[in-house]
Amino acid sequence: MKKEELLKFYNTYKIFIFPAVVSLCSLILIVFVIYPQIIKLIGNQKSLGDLTNKSEFLATKVSALESYNGEDLSKKVGLSLYSYPQDKDFGFVIGLLQNISSQSGYSIVSISLGDTSKADTSYTVKMELIGSSSLLPVLVSNIENSPRLMRVASLETSSKDTNSTNVALTVDVLYSPLPKSFGSDDSPLPSISADDEQVLTKISTAAPISGTQTIFSSSPRGKTNPFE
């Protein structure tokens, strides 16, 4: 009885019921399938693009890293740390300054370390030297052009006669701790430019033994006979 009634109802209003059912089905498909899938497609397309870019970047990074010679790289790092170390290298610097002084025609009367606790990027070395006043520019230039980074902070000269000059020299010796972060897998690689290569060449030609901090002074350290 009910079925017959339903059929009769459908037959009477099928012109409205059928489109309504079709619309409802379409709406359900749109709401629950098509729209979410399209939204996800668009979203995933963006992440796929990002992932592809990341993959390409990493592949380039890998090939760039593989192109570096490990031995050569560590040698260069050694040279750069020789020039600008991570720590205070008092002994080495004193030896180097003695060497530079003697090469510039000066004798060291005294050498002392200044305040080493103030800054964390430099310490001072105070020197008293005797030599020809005409060689003072050579001495100062040699100190600043030394492969070990040093800057002349102040100087005082006093001439007793035309041949010899007393020089009181304060030198800032630069150092800096190593960077704390070496970059993540995704971080770009720093590029070594032509200027950087030139600097390395400059250091390597001036450095006594590349990558090591051994230098022996040949300058006079005092009187041979202190009672003379």
Partner: protein, 181 residues
């Protein structure tokens, strides 16, 4: 001669029913087309999603592999970072004279005709020079040169005479204060 005369003998209800049936058939066809289109669209989006997921998995695997390769080359990366960090700093200083050295080199160029007793260059680059000049002309030339921007390379901002004495020997004892730029 023969005129076609069509006479509809069917009842009017039948005609209406037929029109209704035809109308419904149209609606039915359109409905089925719409439903089929929706099903096709749904299948297409699902298929595209499956393909996209496969692609994402593929690229994710490539990324993971590349990341692994990068982590095995971590030592080289660290070395490069240190090297760049050092070279950037070294590049700033190496071959670039400090203010103090520049002033001293400049002074040593101009002080050749006089006898220098003392030079003092402080941390700001300011200098005090005490010297003996044989005559006033030499002294005048020296100060003129020190003040000339073209000659001093625009490194000196001012030159002042702290003291000037002329001794019995005819020599000028001068104390110059030179302010660096």
């Amino acid at each position: 001669m023969s005129n076609n005369i069509s006479i509809n003998l069917l009842p009017a209800e039948f005609t209406q029913k037929e029109i209704k049936r035809e109308k419904f058939a149209h609606i039915q066809t359109a409905g089925i087309v719409v439903i089929l289109f929706m099903v096709f669209l749904s299948s297409l989006t699902v298929a595209l999603r499956i393909l996209q997921s496969k692609n994402i998995n593929l690229v994710q695997n490539q990324v993971a592999l590349a990341q692994h390769q990068v982590s095995t080359l971590k030592d080289k990366q660290e070395s490069l970072v240190i090297l760049k960090n050092r070279l950037t700093a070294i590049n700033q200083y190496l071959g670039t004279p400090s203010k103090q050295t520049s002033i001293l080199l400049l002074l040593s160029k101009f002080l050749t005709p006089v006898s220098v007793n003392s030079i003092s260059v402080d941390k700001t680059g300011d200098a005090i020079v005490i010297f003996t000049s044989p005559d006033s002309l030499t002294l005048d030339n020296l100060i003129t040169n020190l003040m000339n921007k073209d000659v001093n390379g625009d490194q000196i901002s001012s030159v002042s005479i702290d003291s000037l004495n002329r001794g019995r020997d005819g020599l000028y004892r001068v104390s110059l204060k030179i302010k660096a730029k």
